[in-house]
Chain length 174, copies 2
DNA sequence: TTGATTGCAAAGCATTTGCATGCTA
DNA sequence: TAGCATGCAAATGCTTTGCAATCAA
């Protein structure tokens, strides 16, 4: 649990530095800090989420820099953008993380990550059938998670207390 | 080709009227016109696309009404919202249209609709495994379509002439 | 008549951009 | 020192909302 500062995520940090050098960019304290906090947070977070976390460490860092740095991390292959249908862009770890897809509970906002090799295979087969060469994809399912399903079955009409972290807007999909 | 006004899409129109009545809403000339034009257009279109088409028939109709009516059509089950990654919301026909997913060419903007019962089945199986009850889903693949792939293979370095209808932003996904 | 509907303008939100200042390499 | 990076404010793009006037039922 107790690790020295800077000892973790060495691989990721090297990747970032390399990307920065290859692109002729510059290393800054802000970028270091944002990367550090991003790597430490094993959740889906928005630019704003990350901004507030960064604020706690260094109130001088601006929103814009967080936005820009997240783009950078994405380019470097460390982060991946995802959307769950509430209009915000979430970021998740990408490096050393197996590709996966998402189920989103429209009741409590829970996000379940899953992976199915069979589905991926069928997708590729489908693409091939159309002469399509896929570079990336996104599969999301919305619905009700186990806990919310059970809760709903019991208390039929009571309004839920906790607010979902991801509130999906109106009727349909994305 | 020559069909009398009002003879087409009777089913859809009835569904719309029914929905309007059930919800205690009112039938208006704007809604009729917007529905009419939406039904006639067998493409993915944004609220703005539809707005301009409507404008040609009745310049008095406002953007807002188109937005609101598209939401209405979605609620009535006649339309479905889709996003292709350019930040806009597209609408497609939903009634009497088999559910399908999308491949989006990041070169020319071509959108291919496809359906795979096997994939759907595996999705449901996956969901079940997590105790998740899905209500709807979205599967999209981005990549290069057949034509663009061929074109790229030939003229390696010439810039493309036509602009894609759907221009996918920056690096990643959604 | 009543209350839903419309269209305009203004507001909202998440994100991006312009620009003067600050700082890496 | 050159020019990338930063942070602020302003701008953007899509969508929603407030509101007075209009109109369907």
């Amino acid at each position: 649990m107790a690790k020295k500062k800077g000892e973790e995520f060495q691989q990721e940090k090297e990747i970032f530095l390399e990307h920065i050098q290859n692109a002729g960019l510059r290393r800054t304290s802000q970028r270091d800090l944002i990367l550090e906090i991003f790597l430490k947070t094993e959740e889906h977070l928005t630019s704003e989420d990350l901004y507030w976390l960064v604020q706690k460490k260094d109130p001088g860092v601006g929103q814009t820099t967080v936005y820009r740095t997240l783009k950078l991390l994405t380019e470097a292959g460390l982060a991946r953008e995802v959307r769950f249908g509430d209009g915000k862009t979430y970021y998740e770890h990408h490096y050393n993380h197996e590709h996966h897809d998402h189920m989103i509970c429209t009741e409590c906002g829970l996000v379940i990550e899953f992976f199915s090799a069979e589905i991926e295979e069928l997708q590729d087969k489908m693409a091939e059938k159309f002469g399509f060469t896929p570079t990336h994809h996104s599969l999301r399912m919305w619905g009700v998670c186990e806990a919310c399903g059970a809760r709903k079955r019991e208390l039929q009409s009571a309004p839920s207390g906790a607010q979902p972290r991801v509130r999906v807007k109106s009727g349909v999909a994305d």
